[in-house]
Amino acid sequence: MNNLVEIRDLRVSFDGVPVLHGIDLDVAPGEALGLVGESGCGKSVTWLAALGLLPGKADVSGSVRLRGRNLAAARRLALERVRGGQIAMIFQDPSSALNPVMRVGKQITEVLRLHRGLVGASAKNEALRMMDLVGIPDARNRFGRYIHEFSGGQAQRLMIAMALAGEPDVLIADEPTTALDATIQAQILDLLVDLRHEMSMATVFISHDLAAVAQICERVCVMYAGKIVEEGPVRHLFDRPYHPYTRGLFDAIPSLTGPRRRLVPIPGAVPDPRYMPSGCAFALRCDRARDFCKQHRPELLPQPGGRQLACAYPVPEARDILHHQEEYQ
């Protein structure tokens, strides 16, 4: 068993409405895994459930193993050691994800005390080093500032510093750049790539932006309506997406290098979890769907080349290779 995290058949419902329909997901030590899908597909809920961070009304089942130990069965104390210490999480909209009335330095030293037993001057020095590492200029002066005194990009750097302070094995970055401007987004992505190498930790990068995911991940899981519908090495998915949904996500990416072309957004929207169709959840929006798709929910099955797919009528090959080579090479 050399996976760091193994999620098996993770299901979540809110007030009896299922929103995750059995997620299986592995994270290997040090790898960079992307989790993509439109908003509302269950990307955040997957990891919040794994860490026991969902509100009490959420009904969670399935197993989440960290180095073989089941977190779902773990006592609260053990779970608190895992959070921030082994699995750290950073969130969208850093300005509201940090405590507005606690000094930012204190929010970092809090992690150092909890997970590395550092207090006093040694905690402060280490926090300053972390702030430096994530690129906060003049850290010593800004240690005692509050979050509203920082820009969005700086706030995200601070949250990253806070997450790294516990020296986690995995960093879950939940849409860390969504709330930021394009140039700042690129800087934060670069920072995450650098830090991952420096700290040799695994990174799970959650995003609705396939282009950003492709930039920093080796492997990608595509989620749709509470299920993983396609999984594989990022290059292979780029070269040849099997699932019409993955293909649709690619078509919606503006191409920077290739010839100008019209963006093709996927028609329609993610179905409401309360009115989930009985067959394939994507069938209503899929131009390849047939009657069969509307009745049978496809399983996620292994494919050649170490990939997985949940689709009865995948995107055909020939035209695609040409099409995508043109645009992404």
């Binding site: 919040l48 860490l51 961070l53 609260r76 608190e80 050691r81 895992v82 959070r83 921030g84 210490g85 750290a88 999480m89 969130f91 909209d93 509201s96 994800a97 940090l98 405590n99 507005p100 009335v101 606690m102 809090e110 992690v111 909890l114 997970h115 003049d138 500032r145 509050y146 509203h148 005194e149 949250m159 806070m162 997450a163 516990g166």
Partner: protein, 309 residues
Amino acid sequence: MLRFVTIRLLRAGLTVLSVMTFAFVVLRMSGDPAQVLLGPDVPQNIVQDFRDRWGLDDPIWRQYLSYLRAMLQGDFGLSMRDRSPAIDLVVERIPATLQLTIPALILQLALGIPAGIYAALKRGTLADRGVIVMAIIGFTVPSFVMGLLLVLVFAVVLGALPSGGASSWQHAILPVLTMSIGGIGVLARFSRSAMIEVMGQPYIRTASAKGVRWSDVVRKHALPNAAVPIVTIVGFMVGSLIAGAIIVETIFSWPGMGRLLIVSVTNRDLAVVQCILLLVAAVMVVSNLTVDLLYGWIDPRLRQAPPTH
């Protein structure tokens, strides 16, 4: 900071001035002190004597100006009733009123805030519902009704506590309870919603995701944030305590400022009324100022930020 305090004090001064002017005009227009104090059977020459002594026949604007001038010189005037300095009459009553309002405020803070926070953390449970129901009863029943109910139960039916007067500490129990129940309800409800709001904020989830113990998430992350709105409401409650004192002292014949105010208004004893109003205004100004200063202390976003570079 200095500018802030100066502006607040200027504004407070204006408020006090308009309150006093208003009281002067209303009291003078609504009844003749000579008639009220001396009664209908007093001979005309005595009434005239009284009017001359207090300048009641001067035009009202002249009365007002001389009143203001005296005020500015620190002369709060004499009571028309017994010609002792009004300020002495009022100061004499302060301890009695504090004996009710301070325990009532402490009771409100000590019961209202914890009950609200507890309910928020146990949201949706029976305990939460219990707190909500009690809070609603607490602040919807008017204090004179609450006071009469308490008297009925504890003084009349049980005979356990005195229903009026001020000769022992037991006499204070019912007035203090009457005065605090509404505020406990308001604070409980308000603290509950403030806490629920804070517990739903993203930074609370972040704190949990860092591995902070739940009790510390509540204590170190949620409470300091919930304190901001709670402090606001506590500031308002000081005002309602004063209003409560007027009613409660009257119901329970408690010899405090509230009762003095009622008596003095009835007698059109302007100097005493004005002294009390001035004192009340001063208390309100100080409590508002305290709240504003507390804000800055609790919430760094409201402080004047030093320039960032």
